[in-house]
């Protein structure tokens, strides 16, 4: 008998639940309808507090709270003035891109003010009736555009049903279940491990589960669009989880389908598909994520070197793909 491998016995003591930095990508901030013209709000997402505002022209800004001048928190007493966010302390003003547009008393504009934005402002777009922000820890510009989602942008679809759930884990862990096909049988009670194909190309991941039953794409870490098709009827699940802190995320989802006639077979199937995405659905043996996944997510630790077996999904390939969204020091990256 050789010596036993104690590493596998003892490793969990040193493991972390969420060793991940906040990843690079587009993230959902809020629904457009929730931010009125001239409104300012403090929000905590992406690992810090931000000031979210809509200027008088309707444009949304999302900036670091602290004025580059003397550090006042602009979300406490700041105001929207025209196109700009005005600091309460000395009335320096910043536009939605973080450029200082007015210093109401200095004679000379400090050169850096003319040269670049001096307040960190995340690039923001409004798509699908939502506010999206591009996060990069070193303030780099967006590396891809958000995709078209006809179900959310074009007429002929029902008003999306929405859901939002807090989760005590990082978004990499949440989405990992999307490629963990074996857990669908054991945790969710699906009759069998579904056959699945996964591919990765740049910032996009693609999955086809159970021969077209679920076909989905991930666009970076913050947006996934899945189509569930049964008997020729398709329902769409758009998932847009956002990191709140390193160990806390908010899972957000919108569910929609074509505006099928009331009482039609198609409508019944589409509604059942949506029910099934979320939780228990009549006539389905397996459970949706709401009833079973949270208990795992909320308590697990991340094993960077998992012990996988032959029936497992492409966990390693998924993690390698996700790693492109982390910008961090080598020591941090080694834990992922």
């Amino acid at each position: 008998m050789g010596a036993i491998n104690t590493k596998i016995l003892l490793e969990s003591k040193d493991l972390e639940r969420c060793p991940f930095p906040i990843p690079v990508g587009w993230f959902f901030v809020d629904f457009s309808e929730n931010l009125q013209t001239s409104e300012i709000r403090n929000i905590e997402i992406l690992g810090q507090e931000w000031v979210l505002f809509r200027n008088e022209g309707g444009k949304v800004g999302m900036t670091d709270p602290y004025c580059p001048h003397l550090g006042a928190h602009m979300g406490h007493g700041g105001k929207v003035v025209g196109d700009n966010l005005r600091c309460p302390f000395h009335h320096w003003e910043y536009n939605t891109e973080g450029w200082c547009k007015n210093i109401p008393y200095g004679k000379i504009t400090p050169p850096i003010v003319k040269k670049q934005a001096i307040l960190r402002a995340l690039p923001v777009v409004e798509r699908y009736g939502m506010i999206w922000a591009w996060y990069h820890p070193e303030c780099e510009a967006p590396q891809w555009e958000l995709p078209a989602i006809p179900e959310l942008e074009e007429p002929g679809h029902v008003k999306p049903r929405r859901g939002s759930w807090p989760v005590n884990t990082a978004i990499q862990e949440i989405a990992e279940n999307g490629v963990d096909f074996a857990h669908l049988k054991f945790l969710h009670g699906s009759p069998a491990i579904p056959p699945a194909e996964v591919s990765f190309d740049g910032h996009i991941s693609s999955v086809n589960m159970a021969n077209g039953y679920i076909v989905g794409k991930g666009y970076g870490p913050g947006l996934n669009v899945f189509h569930f098709t049964q008997e020729g009827v398709t329902a769409t699940m758009v998932s847009y989880s956002v990191p709140i802190t390193a160990e806390k995320s908010q899972m957000n989802m919108s569910f929609t389908h074509k505006d099928f006639p009331e009482g039609s077979r198609e409508l019944a199937i589409a509604k059942k598909l949506v029910d099934h995405m979320i939780g228990q659905a009549e006539g389905e043996e397996s459970a949706g994520f709401e009833s079973v996944d949270f208990i795992v997510w909320n308590h697990k630790k991340y094993r960077p070197n998992p012990l996988l077996c032959d029936g497992d999904g492409p966990i390693v390939q998924y993690r390698k793909w996700f790693k492109q969204f982390y910008v961090a020091d080598p020591e941090t990256l080694a834990k992922i």
């Binding site: 000379i108 504009t109 400090p110 050169p111 850096i112 003319k114 040269k115």
Partner: protein, 107 residues
């Protein structure tokens, strides 16, 4: 320690002892010669502007980008000359002993 000859805005000339390693701005500010140095050396206020004696100007390391941008920015308000410098960007050392500077007008 280097002795620097300073002409203030009233034309008075004085000799100031400047300890090595300090920014010239701090020396002038602490000697109450009219230099404010509000931004503390960030090249963002333009209140430590001096005219360096031409013979000495060429012996200083050239102005960096930030300093040059600030000098360009204050042109609108004061006379900026080829030997204009922000004194916060001049670090005193022994080689500056005997240097002559004039405090530029307020912006």
């Amino acid at each position: 320690m280097a002795e620097v000859h300073v002409t203030d805005r009233d034309g008075n000339v004085s000799a100031v002892d400047a300890p090595g390693g300090r920014p010239l701005m701090e020396v002038l500010r602490d000697a109450n010669l009219g230099v404010e140095g509000i931004c503390g050396g960030a090249c963002s206020c333009g209140t430590c502007h001096v005219y360096v004696d031409p013979q000495w100007a060429e012996r200083l390391p050239p102005a960096g980008e930030d300093e040059q941008m600030m000098l360009d920015a204050i042109k609108e308000f004061v006379d900026v000359r080829p030997t204009s410098r922000l004194s916060c960007q001049i670090t005193v050392d022994d080689s500056l002993a005997g240097m002559t500077v004039e405090i530029a007008p307020e912006v």
